[in-house]
């Protein structure tokens, strides 16, 4: 799975593409781990290029959300298509995350003033 990584306004933006499942989740985890180790991490994960996410991916995001909260940082998810959104809904994950429609909105909210 390809993950494009960039920094905008002091926010780390990750844009994975393809499927997030057991076979690809290690790449997402590897990309998130150093970001989560920083103080007050600000991370946006853009799902625009993601076809679907399975429970393996949900688990990684749950851990990331907890670590971000513990580090008094911020995590936002954006660009969810129907498949990703439906899985989040079925898993009851919508209330656990900051979810925005576009990357611009998500980065705008998390950017350091």
């Amino acid at each position: 799975m390809k993950i494009v990584e960039m920094r905008q306004g002091g926010v780390n933006v990750l844009a994975p593409s393809g499927r997030i499942d057991t076979t690809t989740v290690a790449a997402l985890e590897a990309t998130l781990t150093p970001l989560l180790a920083a103080p007050q991490p600000r991370i946006v994960v853009d799902f625009s290029g993601v076809e679907y996410i399975s429970s393996a991916g949900l688990r990684v995001l749950l851990v990331a959300a907890r670590r971000v909260q513990g580090a008094r940082g911020a995590l936002a998810l954006c660009g969810m298509g129907d498949a990703v959104r439906q899985v989040f809904q079925l898993a009851g994950f919508i209330p656990l995350f900051t979810i925005r429609d576009t990357r611009e909105t998500a980065v705008g909210e998390l950017a350091v003033p």
Partner: protein, 140 residues
């Protein structure tokens, strides 16, 4: 219009990837809707990875797969020789707890139950048989 494909993959993470890639190719070559495709791939990922992680597969263990498409309806049969495991017996997951208390166990199987139109497990002659069906789902 109907089609069938059978294959065998090793009960390893690499085998899971082979199985998913094979279904994607099979679905696309038979014009399965993308709406059905992602549902089946997700469910297959959950079922196959459960076997690899919880089935204690022997080093050379294999998982047999049968893919079918019949008028837009996809079917997958997963057969393995690993420890008896009925995915449908896994209790429903916690979907309402807070971020701090939420436990993700059982989510994968819950997704399979929700996304598949039909799912059945059987233990027969020392093998696990899991059959699931999905669709038709139209692409918007």
């Amino acid at each position: 219009m109907s089609a069938v494909e059978t294959l065998s993959v090793p009960a390893t993470l690499a085998g899971v990837r082979q199985g998913l890639d094979a279904f994607e190719r099979f679905g696309r070559s038979h014009h399965l809707s993308r709406a059905s495709e992602w549902r089946v791939l997700l469910a297959l990922d959950e079922i196959l990875s459960n076997i690899v992680r919880h089935g204690h597969p022997a080093l050379d263990a294999a998982i047999d797969l049968v893919f079918t498409i019949d008028n837009g309806r996809a079917g997958v049969e997963v057969v393995d020789d690993c420890a008896p495991f009925d995915p449908l017996s896994v209790p429903a997951p916690d979907t309402t707890g807070s971020l701090e208390t939420r436990r993700p166990g059982g989510l994968g199987v819950a997704l399979v139950r929700e996304l598949m139109d039909d799912a059945r497990y059987e233990r027969r002659a020392n093998r696990n048989y899991f059959v699931m069906r999905c669709g038709p789902h139209e692409d918007r």
